[in-house]
Symmetry: D2
Subunit: 356 residues, 4 copies
């Protein structure tokens, strides 16, 4: 089988590099185009990232020699089957729609279209049916082959799946979450070392709003070609930057309309399987939510890489004296929370015939 | 004036060293006795801590030459005016009452007597009137001059004062707090570096219970020679160890019976003054609660040392979508939360004629 | 083929756990016996390490259920083909010879026998011929099947191979090396976090002597059944502990009798191949010494895991104004420098018919 | 006495902020002018540094309200007695001479003029007599009151004083030094946290050359209105960035023409006093070089703040198998190595009548 041809918009940045690195050897996808700002255009990818390649693995041989295209040159990527967008939000705003209009499906990490009414924000295990809106999106905009799908923010990955697993049966009502987020979440150069060594910064611009609102769209429904947010629950988020490299940890207290038993919760987490698991997608973790019995887990450094960094690890489920239950969740912010999550969305799109 | 003669039980440990270090040059108190386990007895203090002195300042000259006494040898400290106890809880259990019985007031950092019914657990700005129970404690136990007073856990210092400032007028109902606690809170050797570098450990043994229950005694009342806990509010705590050296940060969401306005809260924090401020005690911070207007403060490394490490710094007061309000609090765990807090209690005792 | 049966002495400690973890799925070796102090004996391995398992991977299923044997019970491991010893040096002193005497080959990480005159200290790419002494060792001691082979200290791995690659042709004369060693080198609990966060400790007990002397044995020769150390060169070492998790970095200045050209050095590093590479041993890195051209490499976090943590990465070769040349070297201290290095020695022993 | 009026060029940057912070309450100097890039001009200092004030102490009240002047507006600072320059090197190149020409003495942290032949590079305890060249500098350039004096690089502070203390009597010949430098040495934002957490970067652009060459000027002499570098010794430097906040540590091996005894060295370090000590200058450390007897000192976090961060702490003096002696040195890079060092130079200038 010929591999699907993939372009990466914003290929020279941190998230773009992660796409390049994670896609090496992918069974379905092959990086054939690397796109960046006009200033990098014309260089080989290896030249363009020289001195600022941040991945542990070296640049994959098949990508190092690709010539970087300017994001403004849509023609150059016309023969891509789809693109991952790792563009900054302000650039994404200008270009993502143009790519979709030009017939190229866009799987985006940018926050630009997360609340666009006909753009699905996908967590593959949670709301794969939201892809249904793609046809309406195309129709409304007069696009034939192109469309836009987005990935939610990295900060919500550690608690949305565990809560979604309970929502159907017990109706989530309220959640208070405190995140302890790794520095890699800020991209590169991101957080100055002087600001975070021996420190906690209890503020990340815009992050609390994202953490409170995005889950409502993900757990929402489609009506008349637009998303209806699930307003049946409320989330309060405290977002903090801590001196860890990768892995966002969250402490979570929550209340449901019907209080689940401990067994209710553990069973649903254990049995939480989604389309990615059923289809056995390449980047799907075998077990989407892993509950650790140890009293001091999950821990950031020990558990973030679980199942290639794609599983969510939870632990410490215990009764909450104020709300009903509390627990700790962890997910790898630059794999599940960024490029890995984007790849899993693309795999889902492929399995459903939207691309390829 | 002759200085008050002070002994330190557990003088060679981490908290003991902090007492020794912080008391250097104290206007009222002079360390005249250093007490430790029998294995250190007979050595000079300098010898006893050789290779394990962890303070930045060198050993104060006046203490370096003191001969370490065995904790079992009560006679040796008979001429102390009072002692600070930095004993481990299991040792404290055996010895603190014997010292009190022998006529020596004990100001303790140990958790042993925190819930003993006639022992006051003091935050000097919050419940100085709890010292009234001392007379009943002495009477009930037949002690003449000795008594026991304890300091609460370091984890609660960053949120109890800010909440106590509101409790009287608005009646606290429920609180959800997540702490991010520094490694020095675990003593020495404490947390292995391999366990905490590039990591967050979402568990500290016993800490969540302390964080949830101790505030109820501190905000409680005295009845018939015993403390009645304030059961009118409930706290849920998530306690985490993070890779910072000193300073416990807390994110706090809370609800009161009557919802205070933003102004209500800020005014009460600003005006929060207690007996230590009125009496201008040497270790009292000028302003007990300091509100920072910046959107990204308090930060652990920048704010922990505020006013010699004795002030609580708060910030980011904002409406909470689930509860009423949320904010961030910070206090220095080894100064305000340990030896510095103990010294302020002793100053309060002195000012009220209980010692000296 | 039946796998070779392997026992691990000191299986519950940090290095023992690394052996257990790294040997999972090994093509030749199978862990069949786990040995620890009498206090752990009788428990399953999973129970024995409960709450103190420090590896990222979970306990391999095949080892979790093994019953821990007491180190004092030699009979229990009689049917092992050989053992890895991860015993503390003082315990190793008592037991390693007993195991060898009982017919069990011992591959040891302990420092006990590093300078025993008939015990080879092996770096598989550098001095595989030193295994020749095994027969003399057995003969002199009246041992039939058993023998002792040791692995050198982790601190020397980053500079001995690069220097050995030059010694034959240019005759090394003097070396000044400064190591920046990771906390995992101290085992567990090892370095207290309070001692190393935001700190460098310019002292590691005994480490400088090991770093200066061990290379002389490794580059030495055998005469009359004993090792003759190579006294033709001198090393001066400054050993420091820095706040990194894994990976020992070294800055190295050196002088040879004949000054090599830059090309001379780079060619010898590139072509440095040893028996492990020729035999294609399972744990052998493909390229034993990897030279990075970037001006700011090797870096600890980026390069320590190169080729499963078994390769030495060097960089920044430049003329030294005082000596002849200087460079930077890096190796993974708990893989190449500990269990991985031990496994490679065992593979070499197997390939040469000493075990199995 | 009226205080001397001081301007700070580059006042909004990290080093500029340190000058502002350290000069608060200075007995002789008063910050009366803050100068920055044209983009900040016209704002109050508090506004100009809003959101990027990095000091632990809040902005001194007396400076917060000063109006920031553009560096291009020399008239604005005409009534300063002198200025500290914390300008970036490229800007310093353009402006420092203009200020001097305009009659304003410049004490500079920039590297621009460190090797200008008639500009003295001063370590106040080592080469205060180099100030003699100021008159020749002024004469040659036709300047009346203005002149330029510079401070050397922060990386050399931990070893130059200890070596200079020996040079006169024993004639230094060769030195090999490895530095482990704190992140604050790179300014702000400086090193990205992603680049340094759990890492060592064995490269700092330009730093090794500075570390090798600057000491030769400092220990050199003046001839015919120009500096003659001391070529009698050679230094080889390996410069590394490590994850510490403040404090540059160095491991040093050295050889002298005449080998000093251990006693020779310790006595000279102990007795090392310079003009700053004799004149009892406000920022002078009482003891310029402090030798710690403990086997594991100096340590970065414990010793960097010694004597307000102005003393150099040394330790671990031992024979070197390759050279003659080796030791460890430490100095605070942003105090002694930057603003504090600049202030001490200014105090020396004042004491010698060059300013004020």
């Amino acid at each position: 089988m010929n591999k699907i041809r993939v372009g990466i918009l914003g290929a020279t940045g941190m998230v773009g590099q992660q796409y390049v690195s994670l896609l090496e050897g992918h069974p379905w996808f092959e990086v054939t185009h690397v796109v960046a700002s006009p200033s990098s255009a014309g260089k080989s990818y290896a030249e363009a990232v020289k001195g600022r390649w941040h991945m542990k693995k070296d640049i994959p041989a098949g990508v190092a020699g690709l010539v970087v295209q300017s994001v403004e040159n849509l023609d150059a990527v016309k023969d891509c089957d789809f693109v991952f967008s790792a563009l900054d939000s302000d650039i994404a705003k200008i270009w993502e729609e143009k790519y979709a209009e030009a017939g190229i499906p866009v799987v985006s990490n940018a926050s630009t279209h997360r609340h666009t009414k006909d753009v699905p924000m996908i967590m593959p295990e949670v709301n794969p049916h939201h892809l249904d809106i793609i046809k309406e999106q195309q129709k409304a905009r007069g696009w034939s082959r192109g469309f836009i799908v987005v990935k939610p923010n990295c900060s919500i990955q550690s608690y949305v799946a565990p809560l979604a697993a309970l929502h159907k049966d017990f109706k989530l009502k309220s959640v208070i979450v405190t995140t302890m987020q790794a520095i890699s979440g800020a991209g590169f150069p991101g957080v100055a070392s002087y600001d975070i060594l021996d420190n906690v910064v209890p503020f990340i611009g815009g992050e609390e709003t994202k953490s409170e609102i995005e889950p409502r769209k993900i757990l929402g429904s489609i009506k008349d070609g637009a998303f209806v947010y699930d307003e049946s629950f409320t989330i309060s988020a405290h977002c903090n930057r801590v001196p860890t490299i990768d892995g966002h940890l969250a402490t979570v207290s929550f209340t449901c309309e019907t209080k689940p038993s401990r067994e209710d919760i553990l069973v649903r987490w254990k049995n939480f399987r989604g389309v990615p698991q059923e289809l056995n997608l390449p980047f799907a973790p075998k077990q989407a939510i892993i509950y650790r019995e140890e009293e001091n887990r999950p821990q950031v450094r020990l558990d973030r890489d679980t199942d290639k960094g794609m599983a969510v690890t939870v632990g410490r489920l215990r009764e909450d004296p104020v709300m009903q239950w509390k627990f700790v969740g962890l997910s790898h912010n630059t794999i599940r929370g960024a490029a890995g999550g984007g790849i899993l969305i693309a795999e889902l799109l492929r399995a459903n015939g939207y691309i390829g």
